[in-house]
């Protein structure tokens, strides 16, 4: 029974590696720093602190889909991340959306009415941020040797405010930012569970909500041994509108005037025809 299960696992592994060979994967070269080298958005994260080992353990991954396509029927999507590593070790997955400047606004009661009175802009805010791990993260990073792996709190505490303000207020606005992002499902509160099978095959579901900002997302997978990163791979995940939605959004953003004329003509045509037809019925 046990050997049968192992056989099935092996079959899956063979299939997975076969698929991996075709995808544009990025693997740490032996001897080199396993720093991700993808063309994703630049960020200020320092390269991982990896001891200079003669050989880097193997770590490979792939996604069930190469991109998240926002179509006319898009209602959020779950993407499966899977891969294989040289045991022993634990796996941590970090998904970060493209960084942008976000303005947080705070309401206050003024003459009985609630209105926005405070605002604070932050630079380099990830549109999306999710972490998954095969063990509780605190235990994995207990010795503070996680290097570039940052919990959401750590990632956000490094955010640069666009305008200076006292620390207590900034902390409040930062908490507000997390609250709004959580509500929209963009900063999942729970650490995702990476499941490891047969000691070397891992998988995790990455949930993406329906209100997903577009851009190139950065997915990084780390292999940890005794709290230290020993291997890392990364992969860009493009998120974008496709088909009719993409066309319309593109026109609206880049050819606003033309789009406006088109919208008016559409309304005139449908209004005229519709009115004429319905009056005859």
């Amino acid at each position: 029974m046990r050997s049968l299960g192992l056989l099935a696992c092996l079959a899956v592994l063979v299939g997975a590696t076969g698929a991996l060979a075709q995808g544009p994967r990025l693997e740490a070269a032996p001897g080199a720093l396993p720093a991700p080298t993808i063309g994703g958005p630049p960020d200020a994260i320092a390269p991982p602190s990896v001891p200079n080992e003669p050989t880097t353990p193997d770590l490979i991954m792939d996604l069930s889909r190469a991109r998240v396509s926002i179509t006319s029927a898009f209602q959020g999507e779950s993407i499966l991340l899977f891969g294989m590593f040289d045991p022993p070790g634990e796996i941590v997955v970090v998904v970060a959306g493209p960084p942008a400047r976000e303005t947080v606004m705070r309401k206050q009661r003024f003459l009985g009415i609630w209105l926005n009175t405070g605002r604070q802009a932050f630079d380099d805010v990830p549109a999306y941020y999710a972490i998954a791990a095969s063990q509780p993260l605190q235990r994995l990073l207990a010795r503070g040797a996680g290097g570039e792996i940052l919990s959401l709190e750590d990632r956000l505490s490094s955010l640069k405010p666009a305008t200076p303000r006292d620390a207590a207020e900034l902390a409040r606005f930062r908490a507000g930012l997390v609250e709004v992002k959580r509500r929209e499902g963009l900063y999942p509160a729970a650490i995702g569970q990476v499941t490891v099978q047969a000691g070397r095959l891992f998988r995790v579901d990455l949930p993406f909500p329906s209100r997903l900002p577009e851009g190139v997302y950065d997915i990084r997978v780390y292999l940890l041994r005794e709290g230290k990163i020993v291997a890392a791979v990364s992969r860009p995940l493009p998120v974008g509108k496709v088909g009719f939605s993409a066309q319309l959004a593109g026109w609206s953003a880049h050819e606003g005037a033309l789009y406006g004329v088109g919208a008016i003509l559409m309304a005139l045509l449908v209004g005229w025809l519709g009115g004429a037809v319905m009056r005859r019925l």
């Binding site: 006319s72 029927a73 898009f74 209602q75 493209p98 942008a100 400047r101 976000e102 303005t103 947080v104 606004m105 705070r106 309401k107 206050q108 009415i113 609630w114 209105l115 926005n116 605002r119 630079d123 549109a127 606005f173 507000g176 930012l177 609250e179 709004v180 992002k181 509500r183 329906s210 209100r211 900002p213 851009g215 509108k241 939605s245 993409a246 319309l248 959004a249 609206s252 953003a253 606003g256 005037a257 789009y259 406006g260 004329v261 088109g262 919208a263 008016i264 559409m266 309304a267 005139l268 449908v270 209004g271 005229w272 519709g274 009115g275 004429a276 037809v277 319905m278 009056r279 019925l281």
Partner: protein, 308 residues
């Protein structure tokens, strides 16, 4: 059945939007004014971002007004001269309105201003309609063939400079008044996404003293071009016109409007107006509680800016 709205950036039920359009069309068929002043707040209630709701609703108003203008024009119910004078003010007002909208959006106060303006406007109109329908009802009961009001009232209108003769409306008044009126309606149209017929029509009757026969057609004429201007400017400057959303509202409205017109012919007008005023007041009350109630979250996000 859900559909993704590419500019609003969320998915929404198709039938909900068609139904909203139909309800707005029904109202416009019944009362001869566009249903925009109810449709926009309802769109905001169901979760469409206010900026997108307003701009897309302006697009819907274009379709609505061409549809009724078709009939009015054929019947010769459009005072072209008056329409053009109103339009001059309307174009200025709507352009200023879109600029104001963009500014308010940038400083993060647009949602608040939209809500406050709606509360003020809907409660005023709702109360006026309620009193009017109630007083008509009681007067008619007391005196079925009661005296009609004067056709023209003479106020300040007749003392302003720049007088123009409007043959079709049988008026000789200062052009400043319709220009000013058009200007105000234009601002309302740009910020609230409404045609403004529900303000314009009474103002044309009571303020300008126009004969009722040409009021609807002439207001439709002005609204068509002002709504087109708002649609164009919103699309060009803010990129907030969602044509998918607008098309669904228009299709619903196309079906709803004739049904409303037929219903209005069968049902007693006073009762209808009383019902309508109640509906308007309900929406106003809901918007007001939203403003007064402690929000579930004090924080919200402005627009994301991807820095180069």
């Amino acid at each position: 059945m859900e559909i993704y709205l590419p500019i609003a950036e969320l998915s929404m039920n198709v039938f909900l939007l068609l139904g909203l359009g139909a309800a707005a069309g029904l109202l416009s068929g019944m009362f001869g004014v566009g249903g925009g002043f109810l449709a926009t707040p309802l769109l905001i209630f169901v979760g469409i971002p206010p900026a997108v709701a307003v701009a897309s609703q302006a697009n819907q108003v274009v379709a609505n007004s061409i549809s009724s203008l078709q009939v009015q024009w054929r019947r010769g119910n459009v005072d072209l001269r008056m329409g053009l004078v109103l339009l001059a003010g309307g174009m200025l007002g709507s352009s200023a309105g879109v600029w104001l909208f963009t500014y308010l959006k940038r400083i993060g106060q647009i949602d608040f201003v939209i809500a406050v303006l709606y509360v003020v406007m809907l409660s005023t109109i709702g109360l006026l309609m309620m009193f009017e329908s109630l007083s008509t009802y009681f007067k008619r009961r007391r005196n079925p063939d009661g005296p009609r009001g004067k056709l023209h009232t003479h106020y300040l209108v007749h003392r302003l400079p720049l007088k123009l003769r409007f043959y079709k409306s049988k008026l000789y008044i200062s052009a400043l008044l319709p220009i000013g009126l058009g200007f105000i309606i234009g601002i309302l149209s740009a910020i609230l996404g409404v045609g403004g017929g529900f303000v314009l029509v009474p103002a044309m009757i009571y303020l300008l003293g126009m004969p009722t026969a040409v009021v609807i057609g002439t207001s439709n004429f002005q609204i068509l071009f002002v709504a087109a201007n708002v649609t164009f400017l919103q699309a060009a400057t803010n990129g907030t016109v969602d044509v998918v959303l607008a098309l669904l509202l228009i299709l619903g409205g196309v079906v709803g409007a004739p049904i409303g017109a037929r219903l209005a012919a069968k049902l007693p007008g006073v009762a209808l107006r009383a019902l309508m005023s109640l509906l308007i007041l309900l929406v106003a009350a809901e918007l007001l509680t939203e403003l007064l109630r402690t929000p579930s979250s004090l924080y919200s996000l402005g627009t994301r800016e991807v820095l180069p």
